[in-house]
Symmetry: C3
Subunit: 255 residues, 3 copies
């Protein structure tokens, strides 16, 4: 059985908000080490992977591995009912048909229990090869979210060009062209490590859904290599991360 | 004729906001004692009753009883045009065809007058028997509003179970089940008086419209007895109240 | 060529927000003196005129007159991408086919360039006779916006009556009648200069679009004369203004 208690519901809210726009349903794999979830997005283009170590929890007990098929929209609805500073306990028996979420206010004057039915989902866990990337960028997550949003007004395709001079985001459409250049610096705290310059184009609407994870982390990490999927990583404090993978577009834009 | 002056329009705004979602039109009965309005809701299921003593007004003059058939949506529109801290004077002649609302800013630099046509409404004033109830609960009105909203995500029916141990709100639907338990205590200031425990189910959407009165009062009073309509009361300072009555559902839920 | 630099994008945002609801496209005439734009609104009823002196700019260079046919909705989208406190530089070559807007954050850590295609617009510059008006009113722009909004709930036509006693705004419709009276005074800082009293009616929906300019100026100036277009002027600091002209309705209302 699983019993996991977080002192603040807020973290769980942020995680589910980050996932529920991109995957409707997903299987949460629970083990003694913590929680993992991996899934292709609804249109089977990008991949999302959550990892949350057991240390993240005030109390964590999982004596036998258990897989929970979750409807993330439903889970999001339940979490809307909780105060952000309520403590939350997630419970499931072995071979579970439902999951229980219990919320407690400080002082336990108010307690709320929700039971959600679990889903039977096909699982195809992909092995993600952990290769090196030739460009590694860190920037404020809010800045990345804003760039993705602004660029998507111009075109559905967003080009990221990374060199030792800086990162350039570009889009070109009927409205005109847009170029945003970020340089490594202190005010915005952008850091860039480049072994080889990379220029790749991506479908902006996936990048936009990735940025639903913005509240999880002040800073986002981008990893790029020529002809390899972009990795967008939002760290969850020291306890884990949400990672999004998106393959580049094949046709290079004519910039 | 009627002439009633409130020093702050805000109170009138809150009252009309509490009523206008549940009744489209209503007859305001004005007498020397103050104002009364009683009406079934638009779908003739619940009953709403407003009572406002003449003491509530800075100035109140009503030498002959007068009944004003009001369109509450129109009245709400006029009130949107007023500043919350304007003084407002309501005027109507005997046998009136219209009502006048006059708003004055502090210093009278800005005055605004609105005339609204009155409606000829059938009136069937019900006598509400003032019986005793076996459960009497007081809780923060915002907490009650939130519970009604949260529960309505699960099912259209909301069960309230009241015992000396506390109040339990429950709903069960396709999404799963939800239980919220409030215990008497100091932090949230919930008070419960129980002569006999009661468990009854109600249509959540009516409860949700009742909670439009939340801004009127910090605390709401619930009165329950077995097989009698629930009474939800929002006091208006020491001057009156809005009361909502809703009959329980006949079929008990299978909790 | 034109090169004009504003230290704050905010002013340009406010100007474009004031124009883009009322004119879809317009020609910006650039000369050594500054920028001018004049256009009938989309339905060819009212006239809008922008004037912005070169002094308004941190840097202004225009060695040859140039006319820029702008799509204001597109320009508004680009401006949404900029921080309000970014510096912005507008550039166009002689006989231009596009306009470039460059935004720089403080410290230049972030730079963004947008190119917008220009439009070939017919231009019919009207000479606006600068006659005297018999009534001249100054009032808070937010108060004027609110009155226009409130009145439009009652009727599509808004009557402005100006006398030495004050200004009265009136509307009469199915809902009832509305009258708002402003008196010259200190709290709200309304000033009224009247040579001859004027009463004229105007189409409220145009007045409502004029009030999109409210963020540009704390105070708005109204100029009225019998049977002449109303002039609504929003000053842009000491550097210029946006002026709106609207002809009165021919049929007097039956107040």
């Amino acid at each position: 059985m699983l019993e996991a208690r977080l002192s603040q519901t807020l973290l769980l809210k942020k995680i589910v908000d980050a996932l529920k726009e991109i995957i409707a349903q997903g299987t949460l794999d629970c083990s003694d080490n913590g929680l993992e979830l991996q899934s292709m997005d609804n249109s089977h283009v990008s991949l999302v992977a959550l990892s949350l170590a057991s240390d993240c929890f005030e109390k964590f007990h999982c004596d036998r591995n258990v897989s929970l098929g979750l409807d993330l929209k439903s889970l999001g609805k339940v979490l809307k009912c909780a105060n952000s500073d309520d403590a939350v306990t997630i419970k499931a028996v072995d071979r579970p048909e439902k999951i229980t979420l219990s919320f407690e206010s400080d002082g336990k004057e108010r307690t709320a229990d929700y039971e959600l039915k679990l889903l039977n989902l096909d699982q195809d866990h992909m092995e993600i090869p952990k290769k090196d990337y030739t460009c590694y960028i860190q920037l404020p997550s809010s800045e990345f979210a804003r760039i993705c949003r602004d660029m998507s007004m111009f075109d559905e395709s967003l080009t990221i060009a990374c060199s030792s001079k800086g990162i350039r985001f570009s889009a070109k459409g009927d409205l005109g062209t847009a170029n945003i250049q970020l340089n490594a610096g202190t005010a915005m705290d952008v850091s860039i490590e480049v072994q080889e310059p990379v220029t790749q184009s991506f479908a902006g609407r996936y990048l936009n859904t990735f940025t639903k994870a913005t509240p999880l982390a002040d800073r986002v990490k981008l990893y790029l290599s020529e002809e390899r999927p972009l990795l967008v990583e939002y760290p969850i404090e020291d306890y884990g991360h949400i990672r999004y993978y998106l393959a580049p577009k094949v046709n290079e834009p004519d910039f």
